[in-house]
């Protein structure tokens, strides 16, 4: 039997997923430790709870699970900081802003995703390469009822 110490984040688990983001989030440097909900009761959303300080949370979405095309590229420096050698080790979380309960007003930040090394659970909010192609407030659901495509915004 093959066992793995890699957290299987897509599988329901009672294990707590504690993510450490030593430099904090951009503009919120005090938020450095989070617990990621291991299984979501409201896909595609997952709750990322702040562990220290105020009792608050941030909603995140794995962008590649809802978008047709989001070929994430990060800088070599960020990959090094995170100890990422293989793209498959990266858990990518887009920060969601819920301006209203109407899905038309739910946006995700595609410019500055939180990238986490699944093996070490070390994370960083990075700026993606070619950031001009993406929006910090990408509407999750477009008028046609499907997932909107990030590439449409470049035109």
């Amino acid at each position: 039997m093959v066992s793995s110490d890699v957290p299987q984040l897509s599988v329901p688990s009672s294990e707590k997923i504690i993510i450490s983001i030593p430099f904090g989030l951009i503009g919120l440097p005090e938020l450095t430790r989070f617990e990621l909900e291991s299984v979501s009761d409201s896909w595609p959303f997952r709750r990322l709870r702040v562990l220290d300080g105020d009792s608050v949370e941030i909603i995140v979405v794995e962008p590649q699970s809802v978008l047709e095309s989001y070929p994430l590229e990060i800088t070599d420096e960020d990959a090094q900081t995170l100890g990422l050698e293989d793209g498959g080790d990266a858990l990518v979380l887009s920060v969601v802003a819920i301006h209203s309960m109407d899905p038309q007003f739910v946006t995700m930040n595609l410019v500055g995703p939180i990238v986490v090394n699944r093996k070490t659970l070390l994370g960083k909010q990075v700026i993606v390469e070619h950031s001009e192609r993406y929006s910090v407030a990408h509407v999750l659901v477009d008028m046609r009822g499907g997932a909107s495509s990030p590439s449409e915004e470049a035109q």
Binding site: G27, L31, S42, P44, I58, T81, I98, H99, G112, G146
Partner: protein, 76 residues
């Protein structure tokens, strides 16, 4: 605000650890190189502003209700 004149190839130091180099000057733009410790994040100001605003909007009370969204899963 401290204002310094620099030519192409010259640089300034901010403290002991951060160096900002003027690498190229065109008509209306300047290319800057930044040498800084890894924990010092360097951003274009407008990107920093947008992302920090978006992060602040995203912080919410725990376990608050979420909108119901119907989307096809890309990677089931």
């Amino acid at each position: 605000m401290l204002v310094l004149s620099r030519r192409e190839g010259e640089s300034i130091m901010i403290g002991d650890a951060i160096e900002v180099v003027v690498t190229r000057i065109d008509h209306d733009s300047v290319k800057l190189g930044v040498i800084a410790p890894r924990q010092m994040a360097v951003f274009r100001h407008e990107i920093y502003r947008k992302i920090s605003e978006s992060n602040r909007v995203a912080v919410r009370p725990p376990s608050a209700a979420l909108p119901a969204i119907q989307l096809p899963k890309r990677n089931p």
